[in-house]
Amino acid sequence: MKIDRRCFLSLAGGLVAGHLLSPVPWKVTDDLSIWTQNWPWTPVPETGPVTWKNTTCTMCPGGCGIKVRIIKDRVIKIEGREDHPVNRGSLCPLGYASIQYLYGPSRVKSPMKRIGERGSGNYEPITWEEAITEVSGKLGDLRKSGKSHTVACISGSDKGTIPHLFKRFLEAYGSPNFIRTPSAKDAHETAAYLAQGKKAQNVGFDLENAGYIVSFGCGLLDGCGSPGYQFSSYSRFDKDHTLVQVEPRLSNTAAKAKKWMPAKPGTDGALALGMAHVIIKKGLYNRNFIENHSFGFEDWTDDDGNIHMGFKGLVKGYTPSMVSEITGLAAGQIESLATDFARAQHPVAVCGYNECTVSSDIDKTLAVHALNALVGNINQPGGMIVFSDPEYNLPEVEKDQIASDGTAKPRADRAGTAEYPQTRYLLNMLPETIMGANGNDLPIEALLVTDANPVYTMEDNETAQEAFARIPFIVNFSSFMDETAQFADIILPDHHFLEGFRDVPAPDGVGKPVTSLSAPVVKPLYNTRNTGDVIISIAKSLGGTIDASFPWNNYEAFLKQAYNDQYTDLSRSGYVVSADKPAPWESAFANERGKYEFYPTMRHTAGNDDKSKLPDFRQVDIPGDKTNDALVLIPYKSPRIASGAIANPPFMTKTIDADMLKHERLFIQVNPETAGKLNLKQGDAAVVKTPSGEATVLVDLFEGIMPGIIAMPAGLGHTAYSKFIAGKGVNVNALLKPVFDPTFGLNKAWGIRASLQKA
């Protein structure tokens, strides 16, 4: 038998034919496609029983109630809680996206000790025992050497039991230096103290019942204050509600307002006085309130027989035409605004709480408070509400001699000293003090940081960073690797808020005294500990009276005792509203006269005339040279960018518009008219220069911004966290510089002079 080529061809043919009649090609083709439908690297989420748990979001000081969807032990989704008194179902994008922080790459997964340079992010994990021993050892040494007062704590808030534990710890330890990061609260609480006599009050606005809102640059719908509260109030507005927005830029709030009044920046105070002028002139003010519950409206004579000008006298000069000149608004517009405001049902004037500009102009704030007082809308439905923090039921702090001596020392930030007696915290002063001291005699030897990211959020950022770099020992309690955590020597990571307990009293700007509870909905994922527990442990290991001041085994026990009989309610429904109604006028005012003082007699002033006590309009001289820096840079808040201590999670960065960010470049908003003069076109690269620094940005032509003003969003330009936010855009804080009020020490600068040039 002969075998030749044709036999092999035939064999091949047979193989092919048989193959085609077998399942091989068909099944393999099919299964390959099924393989592509279920690629091993495409995750398959596990199913299981669904549960919903209520808790409170603590990503910002807004205090929104949330409900969390959990499948088995995985957190799947966060939604707004409909039955929560703060947000009534509404929730901001950060709240929704906070789930990404729980599982995200920027979590600090165990206690860490720095092994590299400050800011390099080089850390090695250590055990909790080692970490606590190291921290208490260091603090113990400082105390022994009589330097207890050189320990400071920077906290993002002074409300709630966690900040309270820090304050308590410093008191027992012997330091006066508990410092809250600056916020709109500074001006509000100082103004409330001056006009109404009580210290450390919460000022909120009852937006849900307000009928006519005049907002002096308040980013109500731009994610400031308590976004959930503000949005839920806005969502219930109908055609009878009026929102008037005063600001030089067409913000989201301005876009949604019934009327946008683009006053020149920094002239809000004059507008408020102008409105008061019209209201008084037309007799539209609340006579009952003015006559029976206020002081200093008319001119008055003191015990020595000196005659003082009253508020009425002050605003006499602020005629619509004069205010028009200052603000750039039409006189008629100002007049009708004042009239409509005073005649409306539940009018309220709001200011501050624009997270990005933490300028705290005390005069402006007093003037806005006075507007509310004029229409008798203090502690009334739809008005400005002033209330105290919840009182904690706790034993006295035990103090030894070191503690008594230490707490009696002046504060390192100069707040409450003879220089600035009426202000409680002045973090902005700290860098200057540290930089001014010589190396052996630092005012701060050890720093504890909790819920704050000052290395990022402070204006004149470069100086602040240099100052922090000089502090020998920094302990950070952050859950995330933020900019300040990267400066720390020891990181003692807190749980994510979905993993631990904490109380959330007095959300920013909310017009009712709500305290909520943030309770764990999942077991801690990593080796983290509740900061409350850690402070108690540190106190215990320091021993003596410090230990004795912390007679609790853990934070939960402390929390239960602090809230006493309210705790059951708090843990059952997740929140308590401590008073149905705000204090009536009869009992609301705690000063000598028991009245609302239009003339704040307690005001500690630099000058001695009436005008320096009355909320007169004083143009703030913002930093920069008028001739060289012809433009004014203002930061603005976008609801899509978290601009506080916490940076954007990836989901929020994904929502940022293409006219705000392009790859790593940030857009600066410029009016086309201004841009035309500078020969800049849409998308051009340009260098923005301020006295604090410079940055390369891209030009976004926006008709909605006042010519001569340029604006940058706050919250970008991070260097820490993860690649999803780090390196994107510019930190506007690095371009700003504070201007300190000579009597209050607060930062009054609402912007900075700048130049813009084609790059």
Partner: protein, 218 residues
Amino acid sequence: MSTQTENTSNAPSNEPSPKKGATGWVIFAFFVIGFGFSLLGGWVGFPKMLYTEVPHPIDFNHALHMNLVYDGCNSCHYFREDGSFSGSPTLNECRDCHGFVMGINENEEKFVEEYVLQDKEVPWNIFSKQPDCVYFSHAPHVNGAEMDCAACHGDIGDSESLRSYQENRLTGYSRDIWGWNMSRLGEPEHAPRMKMMDCVNCHVEETDSQGSCFQCHK
């Protein structure tokens, strides 16, 4: 391409060379060999290569449990309040009885020691596990169409031991989904197979419509 070589040869001869080659029968035999080899390989060898037997973590005796519970399959495989179906029981449900070793058999011992006491869920092999893109709800089938468990899952409730689980090496799914018969002709061996067209056929029969994509996909 200017230089050209002369094509030297003449026209090709039309006659194939008279050289003796293999006969037609031999050639045909080769064809048959190739054909048969492929056919055999495809129908017999290929399934063996494509599927791999995955051992069960522990053997489970359904029949035994059925005698001890009051509500048949529902006792362990039940509907949750939101209408979703629980599927395989979790340790928490087993723990009520198997909190410690009762000493029934080796399997029980293994189950308690390796899973219950170590608080580790059993990685059961699920015969009917569908790809992630499939949305299947028991409620319309059990409550709406009043189908028995056995209609889709076979008589697994009466079994004393778990049947063999074979996994498709390419797709990762149980052989039950495709059907055990390579040709997909004739009756299924254990329980109805569950490829998309199998669902569709039943839907067309029962509801007069195959339904829309989203009815069964997510």
